[in-house]
Symmetry: C2
């Protein structure tokens, strides 16, 4: 019997306007949480059954946190809501003319549609890069990367090939935005505090962490001061930073750089760019480079009842002619703005335009090392910035349970210098290197 | 380039006797931890890089705990040891005549070999059962089962097939030992405290949890009092218990029972038996039904320097003519015994035979409900047994970090009735039901 033969969305009909939200990231989740059950029916779609706190994914990848501590089941958040309906399903297409979305479990009419599908990794069309590099956008990405990292060290301890030995401990991070910078710092701390104890017979002076970017500074969205400080701190920690460096290709063992140089590595992490993920069925004129053009009410230009928020939205405002930065804050604020104003829009009342309040940006580099750009051009580096970073990240975790777990882990890590989640649960089999499966014979774990 | 082309075990030669340990479960780990670096070189093999606290796997599967909180990286445990060498590798064969083990990274001579590979699930030769049921012996098993459970509820919320609806919430546990009993209790608590809040539109009066066993009572290794109390408590919690019930087959949707009855279910958990996993190369006369026959010094009968401990060992003693129970305690005690006595054996001094101290056995049924058989035929049920169970399990977790994490989770679960780890990270694709992949389109998560 085919278990998924007859599917239905099973959404009850009500007299209230129905708001369909695609994506339960920071934007969509805040809209769903902020809308009133008295006024709207909310239908929320996501292909995962949990919300991911993306800013801490690199700590899951680097074994500092458990996946479960930065992700929470979505249904938990709506236990007290009477008319929010979550469906774990990928929306396949949208038909704006018919006010309908299409899913594999049937079609659904909407009164309002909020697209908050987020951004996906941009490989700029390079299939090799897409195939062989690791991304860090989702929980499975982070868990795969963690297993890959830990497995490479296990392999290094078993290696007998001098041609490989020199490259096995090379790690290359492409893209020096927050993900690249924070992951480079985390790898450096793993090396400094843990790996030499785990593998006393490996020579970790050979472990090299490269951080590459096509632009002329790290953390390009942050202030020049923050960039300079982050670069200085990372270099002190042994990270090799190559700026103005365009990567051309990666074939699974060699990163080729445009000027002809190359770096051998079996672990390349790609965070060099994101792109919007528009939906089939949307008019072409709604999008610009994969992002959906909206007015200052988050409403897609050309539509009366379809909205876009978060990374996928391109709201050109005077201070943000290229749209808002692709970070949690704009998505959260747009989500809350829409939740607050949708009823007024529904009643065709005038509402104030969205006004992004830039709370600043933060990036952590390591223990006691971070950079913080705060409102009013205030910059902090080092320990103060790190405390701010810790406080802000704990505050923004969605549930109290997540806060408690992250805090427990951090206090533990702080006092012990340990990162205890170094389990290889999702064994990494390098494409084209099937022998690893046979050697470890733990393919049951990958199922 | 093939990354795994030239492998070597890279174990240094010393003048000390070399002890090779296969398997880092309770037995092998305790031997490795107890041996002295001054006297022996220790080489420890496991196919995972972590030790698993198996008694709490069912809590990982039922979303009460994170995987990382009951498993710890093995290398962490040996940071202060100078001559313990862990290798994440499957040992392929043993050549006792040559005192050598064979691995894919080369051969290794041993002076003493300790086989502590544990037990594997026994399907009694039924390939269908092996293919379609879920096991609960490893961390990946537990995470797969958790995703499978949570996904079935998501599917139920999307189901439109009346033929399926009646069976979608049927769960069948085959084998009423501790795993079956504890998992049945955990499922019942999920139903009672969480699922109706997660899925307010599903009718959970239709959710049925079956616990089947071929014997005439649950928890057959425990006292009659414990069996009776566990059965009573489970039945009060709504678990349907079928004793003297032999399962004949399961084809992925129907469990066929010997008397002709059948139960439809899309989630069947098999814990009806274990069997030893002997290694290729061992003389046939060393084994009896997959377990290795040892004398009272844990030494394999017929060998002078090969030992077996834990589930794989069959040490027939007066009080235990069929060997010791397949639980953590005998393995731990044998591991410690061997660590303590190996030097004396090496010096051919007489040692005392192994004497198993039965500390009793425990099983938890639910919040405030457990059964405890303590030494001296003392039985506790209910809340006192539950407190004993909590205390014992926290005490036996290997690292302080694991204790801290489990305790944090339990305190959280206790006060909130929440089980917050309900993430579907390893999507379950039922064999032969590939459409699910397309519907959810989250196959990236399974990589």
């Amino acid at each position: 019997m085919e278990l998924m033969r007859h599917l239905a969305l099973n959404i009850p009909d009500t007299s209230k306007p129905r708001v369909v939200i695609i994506g339960a990231g920071f934007g969509g989740l805040n809209t769903a949480m902020g809308l009133s059950d008295e006024k709207f029916q909310v239908v929320l779609f996501d292909k995962h059954n949990y919300h991911t706190f993306q800013p801490l994914l690199y700590q899951v990848a680097s074994a500092g946190l458990q996946a479960d501590s930065i992700a929470g089941p979505l249904r938990n958040l709506f236990h007290k809501r009477k008319d929010v309906h979550f469906r774990m399903l990928k929306v396949q297409a949208i038909d704006p003319a018919a006010n309908t979305i299409n899913t594999s479990a049937g079609d659904l009419k909407y009164d309002y549609l909020i697209i908050s599908g987020g951004a996906k990794t941009n490989y700029f069309g390079n299939e090799n890069v897409q195939r062989f590099t690791s991304a860090l956008k989702t929980i499975p990405d982070a868990l795969n990367l963690r297993s890959q990292l830990m497995q490479l060290f296990e392999w290094a301890s078993l290696n007998a090939d001098p041609n490989i030995a020199d490259h096995l401990l090379n790690f290359v991070l492409i893209g020096a935005g927050p993900t690249g910078v924070e992951m480079a710092g985390a790898l450096s701390e793993l090396k400094r505090h843990i790996l030499h104890k785990d593998y006393p017979r490996l020579d970790f002076t050979k472990m090299r962490i490269y951080l590459l970017d096509g632009l002329d500074r790290v953390l390009p969205p942050m202030s020049a001061k923050a960039s300079a400080r982050a670069q200085r701190d990372l270099e002190k920690m042994g990270v090799i930073i190559r700026l103005n460096t365009m990567v051309q290709d990666y074939d699974g063992e060699t990163v080729r750089i445009k000027d002809g140089e190359s770096i051998k590595s079996f672990c390349v992490i790609w965070s060099a760019g994101v792109t919007g993920e528009t939906m089939p069925g949307l008019p072409k004129e709604w999008a610009e480079r994969g992002r959906l053009l909206t007015d200052s009410n988050c409403r897609i230009i050309g539509s009366s009842n379809v909205f876009a928020i978060g990374d996928i939205a391109l709201m050109k405002q005077e201070k943000y002619p290229k749209g808002h930065p692709g970070m949690a804050q704009p998505a959260i604020q747009m989500g809350k703005y829409l939740a607050k104003n949708l009823w007024a829009l529904h009643q065709q009342q005038p509402i104030k335009p969205f006004n992004y309040f830039d709370k600043g940006s933060l990036a952590t580099i390591g223990r006691g090392k971070a950079v913080a750009d705060l409102p009013g051009n205030i910059f902090f580096g080092g320990r103060i910035a790190w405390y701010i970073w810790l406080f802000v990240h704990i505050s923004f975790l969605v549930t109290f349970r997540n806060k408690l777990l992250v805090l427990t882990n951090w206090i533990w890590n702080l006092f012990t210098y340990d990162k205890g989640n170094r389990l290889i649960i999702r064994p990494y089999i390098r494409k084209g290197d099937e022998r690893a499966k046979e050697v470890f014979n733990n393919n049951e774990s990958g199922s």
